[in-house]
């Protein structure tokens, strides 16, 4: 079962990448209100039950995928 992990920089952390994308877009006349750039991790797990897979993915995220000082994460079950 595949689980997606969306990791985004916290609001109070300066997101240098997001800022760079925003300013490039602006200079090309494609303005956006805001752009945040984070990470996306796709985990393919042996678990076949969504609940179990989400639990395991959550543990993996806590273990290593994100740093709570600067990031937040969300999980999503992906279609196969």
């Amino acid at each position: 079962m595949k689980i997606g992990v969306r990791i985004l920089p916290k609001n109070e952390v300066l997101d240098t990448q997001g800022r760079a994308v925003e300013s490039t877009l602006k200079s090309h006349g494609r303005s956006v209100n805001q752009c945040r750039v984070g990470k996306y991790v796709q985990l393919d797990l042996a678990e076949t039950e969504p609940a179990l897979a989400l639990k395991k993915a959550g543990e993996i995220a806590e273990f290593i995928l994100y740093n709570p000082l600067i990031e937040t994460f969300e999980l999503e079950v992906l279609p196969n």
Binding site: L14, Q17, A20, I64, N67, I70
Partner: protein, 219 residues
């Protein structure tokens, strides 16, 4: 009695390990490798250096993958016992990710890797700076893409109150909060530093200022 050896940690992707080895030898001390997969007895060593480089390619977040290694568990024991530990550049990032030091190092404000000589100021004494050198200016090279120190605001204030900010940039190259180049644990034995003291230990390297820090390994 000969001094105990200095332990140098090696992770997959560490690349300043030989440079630290060379600097430790230059000081007349005996270096020893500590392999990431192995635990060790802290008491067998006089101090530890976690060298810079790109452990695990800096993938995911720099230092994050290395922070989980068995050798880091032994390093935590050494930290608790009050032994001197210095993390340089990626080594600093590893110490932060493993929780041995507060905060985290994120991408430089200008997003690009920076290699240059910088002027630094030593601000407090700890296991890696003697009180005599507080206030001193140092000239050391930096080489990093992720050297901007970050911690939420009250955390930063506490670092200053506890004298844990021991080294700052005179001309901030990377947007680091409060010009921070190095911090220490509350007890002062665990220190992190973004610039590379091991790259400045002989005149032909361009500066000998790295000795001000590394010579504290001599007990």
């Amino acid at each position: 009695m000969a001094q105990k050896p200095v332990g140098i940690l090696r992770f997959l992707g560490t690349n300043c390990d030989r440079d630290v080895w060379q600097a430790v030898e230059t000081l007349g001390l005996t270096p020893r490798w500590l392999w990431h997969e192995d635990t060790f007895h802290p008491a067998d060593y006089s101090g530890f250096v976690v060298p810079g480089g790109f452990s695990y390619g800096d993938y995911l977040r720099c230092g994050a993958l290395a922070a989980k290694a068995p050798a880091v568990q032994s390093l935590s024991e050494a930290a608790k016992k009050g032994q001197p530990i210095l993390g340089i550049c990626n080594g600093f990032q590893i110490l932060c990710e493993s929780g041995l030091l507060p905060g985290v190092l994120v991408r430089n404000e200008g997003r690009r890797f920076i290699d240059k000589w910088v002027k630094l100021k030593l601000r407090s004494s700890n296991a890696w700076t003697q009180s005599a050198s507080v206030g001193r200016e140092l000239n050391l090279p930096i080489a990093h893409g992720e050297g901007r120190f970050f911690l939420e605001a009250d955390g930063i204030d506490r670092l200053f109150e506890n004298n844990q900010v021991w080294c700052t940039y005179s001309d901030n190259p990377n947007g680091s909060l409060k010009d921070i180049a190095g911090i220490s644990s509350p007890t002062g034995n665990v220190c992190g530093l973004m610039p590379h003291p091991e790259r400045a230990v002989t005149t032909w390297m361009g500066s000998e200022d790295g000795r001000v820090i590394l010579s504290n390994l001599l007990v």
